[in-house]
Symmetry: C2
Subunit: 124 residues, 2 copies
DNA sequence: ACATAATTGATAATGCGTTCTCATTTTTGA
DNA sequence: TCAAAAATGAGAACGCATTATCAATTATGT
């Protein structure tokens, strides 16, 4: 059970090498460059395994398709470029945002998402 | 063009009376209580008009269906209850979160979303 | 190398939210 | 009140991401 295959290795590498969260179809096309005739079903299956093993995490942005990134990047948040639609990792966090909730609410986690133009798109 | 109908009035009232962002199906069921045999297509059409007129705004939460709330509540953010899945408005904002982005990025807006248990669900 | 069990990939099927269709009803302005 | 234009609502159709199917391929342990 749970064989080690070329395809899963490729999907894992694509995610680890990426500097930003990727959509399943981005993972598919990057994986196909690294080699072989990778199928979409295999990408989804590999993602499930990677998440189960804790090697990848789901990154959800409102109005955007689900993306996946390597786990072990620590607590961080994301920047969405309104121009190229890419999602970037941000360093650090202002964790006292939890104080925004009324005291009768119990805060377990938070998300901060910035929107704007990335360096490439705003530099033009 | 653009008639004033009972159905649009009802959808507008449902959104204005709500203390939190509502999904289209929540709007449908609340609208049907207020009266009549409201249809889902009409809800979607009414939402389009309300948004075009600037009376309603779209609220998107990762992994959640789109919700709509009355505009004119000013700048604010949201709390998602992990238990009952309802979305609540939060007062205030820590707008210096924009500083999280690298200086080469141009920040245009931000979202802060807190997750946890609402007063009702955590009180049990 | 072998037998077994898991994986792959192309495609079909699914689920679900949203939009379209169109006959009927309602609003509007004259 | 009347004719024209718009809105309604039930259901069909659509788009799209994800999952299931299944024969063929590949990994695994002995």
């Amino acid at each position: 059970m749970n064989y080690s295959t070329k395809q899963r290795t490729v999907v894992g590498k694509v995610i680890e090498d990426a500097k930003r969260p990727l959509t399943p179809s981005e993972i598919l096309s990057k994986g196909r460059k690294k080699s072989l005739s990778l199928g979409m079903a295999t990408v989804y299956r590999a993602l499930r395994f990677l998440i189960d093993e804790g090697r990848a995490v789901l990154v959800e942005i409102p109005g955007e398709p689900p993306r996946y990134e390597s786990s072990g990047r620590g607590h961080h948040h994301h920047f969405v470029c309104n121009s190229c639609r890419k999602v970037f990792d941000l360093e650090g966090c202002l964790c006292h945002v939890d104080a925004l909730a009324p005291s009768s609410f119990r805060v377990e986690s938070h998300e901060i998402i910035l929107y704007g133009s990335c360096d490439h798109c705003s530099g033009v």
